[in-house]
Amino acid sequence: MRTRITYIQKPQAPFDPSQATLTPSALAIHNLDAAREERVTLGFDELPGELWQVLKQCHQIHVRWARREGYEAVSPFSSRVSPGLHVFFSPVAGVASGGATDGGAGGRVSSMESVCTLLKKVFDSRLGCENVEKSFITPPILSTRFASTAAYQFYELLPSLENLVTYLQQKHCERDNEECHRRAELILSADSIDINYDSVSHALTMSGYWSKSPTPEGWTETIQKYEGATGKVEVGLLGAEAANEPEEIKMGGLLADVGSDTELKPTLFSFPSRHHPLLDEAEYSVSFSPPTGLHPTMTISMAREALKEPPGGPEVACALHAYLTLPSSLFGDKYQLSTTDDLFLKSHNLVALRAVAGETDLEAPDWFVSRWGSSWLLELDTPLDSDQGSEDWNVTIPLHLRYLHPSASGYRSVSIPWPVVFWACTAEDGTKMGMNPFDRVNLGWEGLFGPRTMFYQLHPSPLNENNVLVEELKVPVLTVKENSGIFQSKVIELGTVAVIVLGFLWVLWKLALVVRSSGIRPQERQGTGKRDKAE
């Protein structure tokens, strides 16, 4: 087991050497104003049995979770995913590619179902995860050669990680290990959580990111060395420095290997990075302009600062993108959005639909959609001159609601996570993003670009007082009162049947009159007066 804890301080944040005191067995941090990342790596043999039973069937599995509330993502942790739980999964080779859905592939069936069983156990027993085939979508894979992209993708807006904390405390922490319980509970205040496993390293890493300490005084904790020789605890107190190259990030500060170092060692290092921050002012917000009806339009409003192309050489090409994660109740019309009609694209400030995966059926009601929803990568247009004008730049995305189950009120609410918005720029040849000790991949959207792409993340800036990056849509549905009111389902049934039977009888009656007066033979031609008499 290895632990790495990194504190990232902003340049203006105060730091006094007395805030970090290293002893032979522990590092004590006192009131430190910083963002924090903690990464724990567990070997295969350190995992509980039920976990590795499932993991050994995975080629790779990656979990990404982000909280509903807005938070600051400081460099080098500037990448984001939409709020909620994202799971990316590939089964081990041999069971991965289709064909054997029937009895022959017993191992596959179990891996496809056990992943869901485990996710439910760990995150929430109510997750809409039945098995991988039914509940996961298959994102497009750009290149099988660099197949870092997982084959299957799952998403659900999971507001809280309480279940994960309980799971860790029960399965991982020893009963009397209070430190372990405390560290697990800290997850409740995390802004994002990553869990990674792949069959190459056979190691499970779990990392959490906190943009600030849960208490206003800052971080105060004592980081103990591991008992025994196997574990390693590394701590870094770092801050970003000005980098020399546009694709690089430079970090400087203090490092300590708790238990072996006797003092904090100063450090300064730089590395090429996939993810880069933009200026604080490069903000965006998301809304649905009312009335939303059955065809809501998502508006992404961006500050002018966000529209300036990121720095780079003349060969560097950049484009602004949004990656939407839509639950099944809301979807885009891929034919509408992939149009090449300039009038349509210009009117929405869109350039093109670059990728789409998942449930894009244009007609199915929500209850016939088994998978969680769909993901959309759209390239966004930018004004010719981003300096001109001061008002926000709006991109609009026309979307459509599915029919939902009837309810007593006549409405149902669906929660739509904000998309992530970013610039994607080509990096110079030979840039090796993997050298980054803080690299982050398998976010859903980054795999849709080549391996040497740099991303500049816009900062979501919630407009609402709850500070959440989730929009609620009120969807009109059929009103069905279970036990009271006129519009119970029985009334709709009987009313419809009665009206149709009456209508049918009326036509039968008219036909009977015809048969009685003239039979079914053709009429003799008797002039026009005949009909009037028959009336």
């Binding site: 009335p291 549905v477 209508g503 053709p522």
Partner: protein, 432 residues
Amino acid sequence: MASFFRNTSLVYGAAIGLRVILLFHGAWQDAHSTVKYTDIDYMVFTDASRYVSRGDSPYARDTYRYTPLLAWMLLPTTWTIPGFFSFGKALFSLSDVIAGWLVAQSLVLTHKMSPERALKYASFWLLNPMVANISTRGSSEGLLGVLVIALLWAVLNRKVTLAGILLGLGVHFKIYPLIYGVSIIWWMDDTKTSTSSATREAKPKTKPTNPSTPVVSQILNFITPCRIRLTLVSLLTFAALNTAMYLRYGTPFLQHTYLHHLTRIDHRHNFSPYSTLLYLSAAADGAPASSSSRGGSGNFESLAFIPQMLLSIILLPVILGKKDLPGTMLAQTFAFVTFNKVCTSQYFLWYLIFLPFYLPTSSLLQKPRLGLLVALLWVIGQALWLQQGFYLEFLGASSFVPGLFLASLGFFAVNVWILGIIVSDIRGCSPV
């Protein structure tokens, strides 16, 4: 005004001119406005044609639910020649005009009208802005219109083989023309040949049926070479087309062209009186058993085909068929659309083509007050529904009940009343 209809080329010129203007207007609007003139279905057809042009299946396009013939027919829309994208719209518009011409030709036969008077009634279709609009926007209903009216024209002119081919083709295209098979076969007895001035059958073999003839000989009398020929030719055409399409495109062809209509759940709001019930039952089927909103009640919606089929396939053709074929076809279509489990405004075009045959002898024109009332109620019935639909679709108000529920039942009531009037009108007159 009368001189206008005397000048044939003027009427057809106006019909064509109207469509040409709309075609150009549509192209202009599409190029200059984000509110497109072109119908969304046309994008589906042309997308499917594009797939076909690349050697793929037209069913690669989601929601393409038509015969591959349509995608093949529209292949010129994939050519990169300026303006050829509108080829399909031009084709549909041309079909419209030909349909109108056939209406005029048939009216002369059925109603013994002067060509001038026939053209006047045909203009109800030819110069109808709604018809021209739908075709120039790229909806394929015009194509169906010409097929159906050509079928009637062929039957009236005793071109039995042609009629069989057209019937088979029509059913292959859109299933519902099947209902006309019954009325045509029923109508096609010898008595018709005596009034027809057109090409006769080679040998007049059946005698007028005597009411007292025993059942067996009645049945034998019913089985005439004409009827056999029509049935066989139409079945053969239908089977040949379907076999060819199945061999070429396999299960997706069957699934999307036919089976889809059997398994579809029309849960979305539409004019049909069943729509609220279908939403309710579809949602209950999709729900886990515990949260089912309707416990143990009957599946009335699965019986919906009974009144629809009884009327449009059996009762209307049998009772009215021999009196007035085009009138019966109108009543059948009207009943089919009114009692259907799904109904959108393009379905109204299906019966609009027959109105020129019905109007000359209808009480709606003879009693203008009644006619006006019918037209008014039909429009109001739709307007009320559309208003509720607008509340739901664009304002997000939950107007399923009572709004849309009552509006669709109300519209159904209006339609059923109109159907009653049509039935009563047909009993009195026998123009054919």
